[in-house]
Symmetry: C2
Subunit: 353 residues, 2 copies
């Protein structure tokens, strides 16, 4: 099997899986319970918060961690609290930024401005230099609020909160070897009073995010906080190899984005002759799995608003393949993929003549 | 170890754990992905929906399942959509009902009425005959909406949606041997257009609950949908045994609620002489774990609004112990607990003389 859909969801890192196997069995108590089992789990969760902040080079006096169930929830929790603010964002951001941001106040009356930045775009792979941009934005308007969606970059690219210019940050576990169902909103301690909960109940997470804390998922995700970032150059080579290999034959493969400023973990590819849905079906026959669009919008047919915002011509929207790799992706997988894709497109083109 | 805090969270059922061990490893793809791995998972999740409806004797043409991350989220999703309705509820309900319901419209102007019912109260164990009550309420006002929080009753007491009088139902996995991080809102198909999402993003769950579907947690929870309900009589005997045993000596143990109409899985107990927090600490030294209050409100000190709503005298609020059992709780655990509790209270009373 060749799995090139890591931007949609990743297999578990072996350390994460080992942790889950043990923790799901033993750490069943409720970390809000007043007894020793609960208190011990609450302490381990608080330690996971510290480990997470440390991995972001964040001062734990300056920032805090709110665990949520998804990056979508984290983005919404932040943006929901910015209803009376002007949100500045891109329509190419993930729908969990675009949709809630489009519901916030428009126009010039509002006093506060929220900049929503995507560190690595989940469709194009565009990398924003978030620290540089944040510093610039804060220089121009020190009272602006800067939120970064780092769901696709965490544990792939360095993120540092040392300078304090980023006010909040969304992270997802299942995009980086962690389990589905746990994510985080990192926010400056002095901004937390602005947060409005998305829903209400007990006083978990300071009342900002009620629901029983998910000990096994949090402790499993923690296992990768301290791991070194993988070397990006082997993936950059694989990305480059595929661009070259698929350009060799005159098959009109089209790469909408240059390698420059784009994550090599994501490679967008258009196959003008054949709709991508058909190619996905043929590739899966060969046990090769990738996406025709981001999973969150996979049901969108025809004109895709994200592709539109990314400047991809409408006639190509039904022809986009998104390849997304992990640090474990190998040269031979890339080689096999390229050969298979070429063979499929050649065969389908012949049939259609 | 004696664990009498099952109402806060349960250990995993062995079938659930076995499923997770396998599924966490293999079912990593995103069920919204367009490729075969994703589609196969989406199909298995849809089958889990059917199994869940079947276990509730619900017609899948009449009802639908929305998977969420917690019962708190499920209750909020429903009540958030009832903002312009009059919500009728009890302050003794779980905070995830009481807090959002208290934010809905008050008074007589609104056209619609939402009745919020708790099948088994998480603190007192009070059982409401939900089918009977719903039938009566619908008879009086056919246009009223009936929501039931069944987080504490699912897979302990029978729930049937056959009559169609219940409009929506909240279920939780981790209160019945399933994993933390998955729950459901069951709702009538013809009511779903009234639902307003709590947050926004992709089109998962018909746009009503965006976030990557949590395949491993859902498929693991599914393992218990078809299990027969445990026989309640052994737990009723244990509950009765503890009431009698702890009444034997003149230690002034007080049981605020009678066994009648109350779940035997929950036993509330007041120890007037000693604050319950101190007893919890002494019991945990003997590896006996239980709560002084529901975990969701364990940080509440002094006057507890749920206890108040339940009619428990304020002077007893700091003296309440909540014992909560599972079908696997044994007579010898109950015997050991009773002896230990009596010994602790006797010793502490002596020290305080």
């Amino acid at each position: 099997m060749i799995y090139f859909d890591h931007a949609a969801s990743t297999p578990l890192h072996p350390l994460v899986y080992a942790s889950l196997k043990e923790s799901l069995l033993n750490d069943f108590a409720n970390p809000s319970a007043p007894h020793a089992l609960g208190r011990a789990l609450a302490k381990r969760i608080d330690n996971a918060r510290l480990q997470l902040l440390q991995s972001l080079k964040a001062d734990s006096k300056q920032y805090m961690v709110i665990f949520t169930a998804s990056a979508t929830e984290s983005n919404n929790l932040l943006i929901h609290s910015a209803t009376n603010s002007s949100c500045i964002y891109s329509n190419a951001d993930h729908p969990s930024m675009v949709v809630p941001a489009s519901k916030t106040k428009k126009g010039g009356e509002s006093h506060s401005v929220h900049h929503l930045l995507t560190h690595v775009n989940n469709t194009s792979g565009l990398i924003l230099p978030i620290e540089e941009i944040s510093a610039k934005l804060k220089q121009d308007n020190p009272s602006c609020f800067i939120h970064v969606d780092a769901a696709q970059s965490f544990k792939k690219f360095p993120i540092s909160l040392t300078s304090g210019t980023i006010d909040s940050l969304t992270l997802s576990a299942h995009k980086c070897g962690g389990p589905k169902g746990v994510a985080a909103l990192i926010i400056k301690q002095n901004q937390k009073q602005k947060l409005l909960p998305l829903f209400f109940g007990g006083d978990h997470e300071g009342g900002l995010r009620p629901s029983t804390l998910n000990t096994p998922l949090i402790l499993a995700w923690e296992k990768i906080f301290s791991l070194a970032l993988p070397d990006v150059s082997p993936i950059a080579s694989i990305n480059q190899f595929l661009r070259e290999k698929l350009s060799e034959k005159k098959m009109h493969f089209h790469f909408p984005f240059s390698p420059e400023n784009h994550s090599p973990y994501i490679l967008l590819l258009a196959t003008p002759k054949i709709p991508s849905d058909i190619i996905v079906r043929h590739l899966e026959q060969k046990e090769i799995y990738l996406s025709s669009a981001a999973a969150c919008s996979s049901k969108i047919r025809g004109n895709n608003p994200t592709f539109h915002a990314l400047g991809i011509e409408e006639k190509l929207h039904k022809h986009i393949l998104r390849l997304s790799f992990s640090a474990a992706t190998t040269n031979s997988e890339a080689e096999e993929f390229a050969q298979t894709l070429i063979a499929i497109v050649e065969e389908l083109s012949r049939l259609r003549l």
